[in-house]
């Protein structure tokens, strides 16, 4: 029985842990292609041994992977997965040195399921090396300084800690790479040196402090001189320095769902009382929470000083530690559940909403600031985000409600923290298994390369337009032809008699499409548009293939049957043909209801090339406040007006959501064009049709009761 317990349980735990780590870090590692260009740049630098001013160690780790396993995404990413695992184990070791192992297990699980951590581990972005080094340095130095372990273990830890510091410097320089963990340990030791009096504690503590101070001074000197970029470790973003909250926002977004627990965890971690054990262990136990907090604060300060929002926050391990330390003994304080639920629900809701409404803002830590994401991604990702947030909210709310029941106290004490932490892990896994793979699909040309590999026949060449040809190397694309420009690419694609393929960026589609329309009066044939950024075009459509050109919704050969036809003209170039209203299911409707969102599509025929750039607008007249909407340059970016050719039919779609003040009735609809910047004073004249102030009278929009 004893034997079974001593073998089976550890073995089972190991297997479970292995399965978990495999799922989080290794599973389908190369399913998502190399992110173009952010990941590709790092991969190529590693492959070509290009001398880069920052991230030396990350670069060499990736290079080692290529050398051992060949040039492919899996090979490049695998060493970083190893770094990720090292960071997790270091955190586990640190927490396990001062707290029960179950707390350490939760800390490891929390860190593993933080998006910032697993995304960095599973891509060649490189910052996982900094994070893992920091985790190792912190664990090593803290165990050496504060733990009650044997001198041998502590000496070994000190060695590992120093190694972590060196690795940190080699990745992100002296400040972010080295100062963060060593200064934190050093300060905590300096503040508690009278209770940590052992010789080894003194050596390790003072060494940490000295290292931290030296690292800061080194950074200051190096930055002042502007040289020694390895010691600086990063390049500040051009333009205005980011404000102080940028780092906070990056942390909050990139560690969601765990970040929703952070405000409460910070409040708790300083308040928790030590368990009744004596000796150094107790002192170390008391120091662990403040130590993690200090790491987080110093890391925040370092990032804020760096002013480089694209650098991933270097201390997620500290956040994982704070959360798990705080929650692990929450069962002893049943009054805490309701505040936990309130704080977590509020923050989870706010952050989830950011993911949905402002998704272009949440990817800065992956150097993806202001990335444009297509509607298709948003639709699916919104559900995923709500699912993940919902899992966490459900966990804390159910636990809090259960804690309110008098009889439930003991069980809540036993299992409440487990329920909350499990829900957070599940929530993190939802991000790992659904959200980020979906995101990766849009950032990588892999889907398009895969389609090419699947559909092509032997000898059918692939051209690349504005797509980094280096990417093909990681996606088994074979030889590719780099196109110098859009015109050449179009000629190459369309003049060929046999089938040619072209991989292009979303930004080049309007140019090519306009050329195609000029030549043949139809849109370019796109066979793979799963990624909004990377599209696969061809010159011939085979059987059972269909054109998937996203511009089919905007530029057409002829308008569909229109319930509201118009006979009018703006200037000399544009004839409005009519308009229709579509409901949420895409069905044409006659009337609209206030408070619901509809799509009002206006169709124009281009009769001549437009002489300038305009905005289009609609007014739905209503007293006292009219409904108005306009499309400026940004909205026309998918198919700018300079590409509009004679004969094109353009669909201009407005989202119309009338406020409740629109009562049932018929309201005049006006449409018009104005010269940019569209302040209402240079409207394009209506040369045919009734108008008011150069706004075409387009009929009446019926508002239903």
């Amino acid at each position: 029985m004893k034997l079974t317990r001593s073998i089976v349980r550890p073995l089972g735990a190991c297997l479970l842990a292995a399965a978990f780590f495999f799922l989080v870090f290794v599973h389908k590692l190369d399913d998502v292609g190399v992110w173009d260009p952010v990941e590709l740049d790092h991969a190529e630098a590693a492959r070509t041994a290009e001398v880069k001013p920052t991230g030396w160690l990350a670069q060499h780790s990736i290079a080692l992977g290529f050398r051992l396993l060949g040039t492919n995404a899996f090979a490049g990413r695998l060493p970083l997965v190893v770094w990720g695992l090292v960071g997790v184990f270091a955190l586990f070791a640190l927490v396990a040195s001062f707290r029960p192992k179950r707390v350490a297990v939760w800390a490891a699980a929390a860190l593993s399921t933080m998006p910032l951590y697993f995304v960095q581990s599973r891509t060649m972005l490189g910052d996982i090396v900094t994070t893992a080094s920091g985790s190792v340095a912190l664990a090593g130095l803290a165990i050496a300084t504060f733990a009650a372990a044997s001198p041998r273990v502590r000496l070994g830890s000190l060695g590992l800690g120093l190694l972590g510091v060196v690795c940190g410097v080699l990745t992100r320089g002296a400040l972010i790479g080295a100062a963060v963990p060593s200064l934190a340990v050093g300060i905590v030791w300096a503040l508690t040196h009278d209770v940590h009096r052992g010789r080894l504690s003194r050596i390790a503590g003072s060494l940490s402090f000295a290292l931290g101070v030296c690292a800061v001074l080194t950074f200051v000197v190096a930055r002042h001189s502007g040289q020694h970029t390895l010691l600086i470790g990063f390049q500040a973003a051009p333009g205005d320095r980011p404000t102080f909250d940028t780092t906070i926002a990056n942390v909050v977004h990139s560690t969601f769902p765990w970040s929703a627990l952070l405000p409460f965890a910070f409040a708790k971690v300083f308040a928790r009382t030590a368990l009744p054990v004596g000796g150094d262990e107790k002192k170390g136990r008391d120091a662990l929470g403040p130590l993690f907090c200090l790491v987080a604060f110093i890391a925040y300060g370092a990032h804020a000083i760096a002013g480089a929002p694209s650098i991933a926050f270097c201390a997620p391990y500290a956040l994982a530690g704070i959360i798990t330390l705080s929650l692990s003994d929450l069962g002893r304080h049943p009054h805490s559940w309701a505040p936990l639920a309130a704080f977590t629900t509020c923050f989870a809701f706010l952050i989830a909403r950011d993911y949905i409404k402002l998704s272009e803002k949440v990817f800065s830590p992956y150097a993806l600031a202001n990335v444009a994401l297509p509607e298709s991604f948003r639709t699916t990702s919104d559900r995923t985000v709500w699912l993940a947030a919902g899992a966490l909210i459900a966990g804390v709310v159910v636990t809090a409600l259960a804690a309110q029941l008098p009889l439930a106290h003991s069980s809540v004490r036993r299992h409440g923290a487990t329920i909350v932490l499990s829900c957070a892990v599940i929530s993190g896994l939802v991000f790992r298994l659904r959200y980020y793979p979906q995101l990766g699909t849009h950032l990588s040309p892999k889907g398009a390369f895969d389609s090419y590999n699947k559909l092509r026949k032997k000898g059918e060449p692939l051209g690349l337009l504005s797509v980094d040809p280096r990417g093909g190397r990681y996606m088994h694309a074979g030889d590719t032809i780099q196109m110098p420009g859009a015109a050449e690419a179009f000629t190459w694609l369309t003049n060929a008699k046999d089938r040619h393929w072209l991989l292009l960026r979303g930004g080049d589609l309007p140019t090519l499409n306009a050329l195609q329309r000029e030549k043949e009066g139809r849109n370019l044939t796109i066979l793979d548009a799963r990624s909004s950024e990377m599209l696969l075009a061809t010159n011939q459509l085979a059987e059972r293939e269909h054109n998937d050109n996203p511009l089919d919704q905007i530029v057409l050969a002829q308008a569909p049957p229109l319930p509201h036809r118009l006979d009018a003209k703006f200037g000399e170039s544009l004839e409005p043909l009519g308009w229709l209203t579509l409901d949420g299911r895409g069905q044409s409707v006659e009337g609209v209801s206030a408070g619901r969102t509809y799509r009002l599509r206006i169709f124009y025929r281009v009769t001549d090339k437009l002489p300038g750039a305009y905005c289009t607008f609609i007014h739905i007249e209503h007293t006292p406040t009219r409904f108005s909407a306009e499309h400026k340059e940004a909205e026309w970016a998918r198919y700018p007006m300079r590409f509009w050719r004679k004969g094109d039919v353009i669909a201009d779609e407005f989202a119309v959501s009338l406020p409740a003040s629109f009562r049932a009735g018929k309201y005049p609809l006006y449409i018009g064009l104005d010269q940019l910047p569209c302040v209402g004073d240079h409207r394009v004249p209506v040369t045919r049709g009734a108008h008011v102030d150069q706004r075409l009278e387009a009929g009446l929009l019926e508002v239903l009761p």
């Binding site: 503040l191 909250d245 300083f270 009054h335 706010l350 949440v362 406020p659 003040s661």
Partner: protein, 831 residues
């Protein structure tokens, strides 16, 4: 007839007489001199009489103290004298008779004299004779006095000495001015855009009453006409109500904090709040945000007070004898008076909408009629750009104001029947919280009730004090809420129907939550970080103590106590942050309701936490504070696309991208503050220097806030408002026959400072040329223009198309105002 019945009959008669006086002032067909004072007096008398009528003054319990009215005469006299001196000082300041150097001393000192007189009165009455530990504490050792003193010393000296900021202050000031000018206190009017329905009424009433009390001439073209040949300073009158409300409410919040922790914690919390940039700056702005937040803070303070009170504790009562008669007063009477005063004033006014007291028109006397009201800016309707004046009838004619008044009167009586016997401390505090929440809603909308209610509910759930739900007096509370808040809503709805409802409720309350409405944060990241960002500046440099305040010490939910005021504050902060972060319309100042709990938490830490022997957490958090001070402060001295030093001004601005004046440089002061505060925060980390560091931090922050109010804001104001332009106009023009034109302006200052007596050309072109031609034809050859500097050349071109110009003079410089200029154009051939 028994004595009781005789007393009640007398009280009833006095109540009716008081109401009648207020009613007569309101119903008069001309504005009566001193009418505001008479109306106030009548309503106050009526309020007291109603309390007497409902037997509120005859309390069964033994009084805590009993005094004869004769012994109060000196104190009451001192109170009257100091009030008269204060009012006279204000009147002279508004009239432009007192220089700034005199005003900054005279007005605050007379106000402090009122406070001292009130204290002496309270002392004589017995309320302040002994403290809660039955100890005699002189005024100088009264923490509450120092709260009021600090608030006065910070906020009052320069309150009205600089111009109104465009567009918020001038916008709201103009709506308030129109209440007086149009003599219509229900339907609010906004200059050339018609009915104004984007904000509730409290702020406008307070501003308008203050203008009436202190002698602002609200008629067209007279706002800046002061006493004699002086240029008026109406800013004193428009901003004073916010100061008074701020002072009362911060005192109440202090009382709540003092009850929950200690008096010193209350004092420190109040000082931190007073010196917080957003509280300080918005206290100097005639915007509805300060009434919202100050009343909200008072409501929270009272809830806190109630939560910490014993359920069965009763209020102290103080008897004043008048011969054989006597009245017995308690704090509950103040609560009931607030409700009654607010309601009775509205009831009188509603009655007066159906009856005219014809003093001018014949036949003289009272005349009953159905409600009618006027659209248009009286006296300005014929000016270009202004709307025509029209007479209108209510949309819902059956809902006549007198009927509404009867309904509210009935509900008020029902309310009185619930509360007139209330003697319990906890219940009285909760009823007071209801009253202040109602005022808060009257100021800016439902956040005023949503935040206290939400916070209390979460608090009850978290602490499982379910008994509190029965103590919060839901029925009388809702009644108080209804009779205070709803009369204006219903009256306005009856007049304007769905137009009002759609505009105020759907567009500006619901719409701002669910949509972007008029917000100006294009290009800014409006994610969760938006209000973290603004709170950093709103609380600078106190942000350096925020980590200590938020995270240090044992959360009280883990202590033996059931009550957890700290949790209450944390929930207030959470809900305020969550609510305003959820709203899609985001102005920087919207996060203001989250500032008071931060100040309280910091104050409490300064009181308690500073003595903690928990050195490691304290040191860690102090270092975090130093980092926060440095990182937030660094933003303030950056000169990029956004000028860092403008971030304080952005806490109260509408447009965040307006040009910073080139001749103003604050970075040296800001840099020094950042360095000093970061050093002091670091010193807190070292146990030996903790107290010194914290004290120095507090002093530095307090001095910084004085600088912010009396230097930063005062020097910037001319560049963010139009006072310099219109000041110059009224000084320069020879007569009213030299009109002023607002040329391509829509910044609202042009409306307020002229009493809306200006030709408005938001877009110029043919209409303006036609107007100018007509002026020239009528012999008015000198015309003034208020314009933005960059539009002066186009003004010159347009003016030249009207006819020959003999002079085209720009009368104000970029140094006076970097945005607006006064231009004088003399039409006619050059001589």
């Amino acid at each position: 007839m028994s004595a009781l019945i005789r007393t009640r009959l007398a009280a009833g008669a006095v109540a009716i007489a008081g109401l009648a006086l207020a009613f007569a002032v309101m119903a008069a067909d001309r504005i009566i001199a001193c009418g505001a004072y008479l109306g106030l007096f009548g309503t106050a008398v009526s309020t007291c009489a109603l309390l007497a009528l409902t037997h509120t003054f005859a309390k069964p319990s033994d009084p805590h103290a009993s005094v004869s009215w004769r012994s109060l005469v000196p104190q009451v006299s001192a109170l009257l004298v100091s009030t008269i001196l204060f009012a006279a000082g204000m009147r002279l300041a508004v009239g432009g008779m007192l220089s700034v150097a005199i005003t900054v001393w005279f007005v605050p000192l007379t106000f402090i004299a009122i406070v001292i007189a009130l204290f002496r009165l309270g002392e004589a009455l017995g309320a302040y004779a002994l403290d809660e530990q039955s100890m005699h504490r002189p005024l100088s050792r009264r923490h509450g006095f120092w709260v009021v003193f600090a608030q006065t010393a910070y906020s009052l000296p320069m309150l009205g000495s600089f111009g109104l900021t465009d567009p918020w202050e001038t916008h709201y000031g103009e709506v308030a001015r129109e209440l007086i000018s149009r003599d219509d206190w229900i339907s609010t009017w906004w200059a050339h855009e018609g009915w104004f329905h984007s904000k509730p009424i409290l702020g406008f009433w307070m501003q308008a009453l203050s203008m009436r009390f202190f002698g602002v001439d609200a008629s067209p073209d007279h706002v800046l006409i002061g006493i004699g040949h002086h240029i008026a300073h109406p800013e004193w009158a428009t901003r004073l109500p916010n100061f008074l409300l701020q002072t009362v409410c911060i005192y109440i919040l202090y009382k709540g904090v003092a009850r929950a922790w200690t008096r010193r914690a209350g004092l420190l919390a109040a000082i931190v709040l007073i010196a917080m940039p957003q509280w300080a700056l918005l206290g100097h702005q005639a915007m509805p945000d300060m009434p919202l937040v100050s009343c909200l803070s008072a409501a929270m303070g009272l809830i806190l007070f109630a939560l910490c009170a014993k359920a069965d504790a009763t209020l102290r009562t103080y008897r004043i004898t008048f011969g054989r008669a006597s009245v017995q007063l308690s704090a509950m009477d103040i609560v009931t008076s607030i409700v009654l005063f607010t309601t009775l004033a509205q009831i009188s006014y509603l009655f007066s909408r159906n009856v005219d007291l014809q003093l001018v028109a014949a036949p003289h006397g009272f005349r009953g009629h159905l409600d009618v009201f006027s659209a248009g800016s009286r006296g300005n309707c014929n000016l270009p750009g202004q709307l025509s004046c029209l007479t209108q009838r209510p949309v819902h004619n059956a809902l006549q104001p007198a009927l509404q008044a009867l309904a509210w009167l009935t509900l008020t009586i029902v309310y009185l029947s619930f509360v007139h016997n209330e003697r319990r401390v906890q219940r009285a505090a909760f009823l007071g919280a209801w009253a202040f929440a109602a005022l808060s809603v009257m100021a800016k909308g439902p956040a005023g009730i949503a935040l206290p209610a939400g916070t209390l509910l979460l608090y009850v759930i978290a602490t499982r004090q379910w008994g509190v739900l029965t103590a919060i007096e839901i029925v009388p509370g809702l009644l108080a809420f209804a009779v205070m808040v709803l009369p204006w809503y219903v009256a306005t709805y009856a007049r304007h129907g769905n137009l009002f409802f759609n505009e105020l409720v759907l567009t500006h309350m619901v719409g701002r939550t669910l949509n972007h409405l008029h917000d100006t944060n294009e290009g800014d990241d409006t994610s969760i970080r938006f209000y973290l960002w603004q709170l950093g500046y709103a609380c600078f440099p106190w942000v350096g103590l925020a980590p200590l305040a938020f995270f240090s010490g044992k959360p009280i939910e883990e202590t033996e106590q059931r009550n957890s005021p700290r949790l209450f504050m944390a929930l207030w902060l959470l809900l305020a942050f969550g609510l305003f972060s959820t709203m899609l319309t985001k102005f920087h100042h919207y996060i203001f309701p989250a500032v008071p709990p931060i100040a309280v938490l910091i104050g409490v830490w300064l009181d308690k936490g500073i003595h903690s022997d928990d050195r490691l957490p304290t040191a860690t958090l102090a270092l975090a504070g130093a980092v926060m001070t440095a990182t937030v402060g660094f933003d303030l001295i950056q000169n990029g696309a956004t000028i860092g030093q403008a971030r304080f001004l952005h806490l109260l601005a509408y447009q965040y991208r307006r040009a910073w004046p080139e001749n103003i440089e604050y970075r040296p002061v800001l840099t020094a503050t950042i360095v000093v505060c970061a050093c002091f925060a670091t010193a807190i980390a070292i146990a030996r220097f903790r107290r010194v560091g914290a004290t120095a931090f507090v002093l530095t922050s307090a001095v910084f806030s004085v600088w912010l109010l009396d230097v930063y804001l005062v020097k910037l104001a001319p560049h963010y408002g139009q006072r310099p332009v219109f000041d110059a106009y009224y000084r320069t023009r020879h007569s009213a026959d030299e009109p002023i034109v607002a040329y391509q302006l829509n910044w609202k200052g042009e409306n307020f400072y002229t009493g809306n007596h200006t030709a408005l050309f938001v877009s110029s072109g043919p209409p303006m040329r036609e107007y100018l031609s007509r002026l020239v034809r009528d012999g008015k050859r000198t015309v003034y223009f208020a314009a933005e500097h960059q539009r002066i050349n186009s003004l010159r071109s347009e003016a030249a198309t009207v006819g020959p110009i003999s002079h085209f003079d720009v009368l104000t410089t970029q140094q006076e105002s970097n945005k607006f200029a006064l231009v004088r154009v003399d039409f006619g051939a050059p001589r």
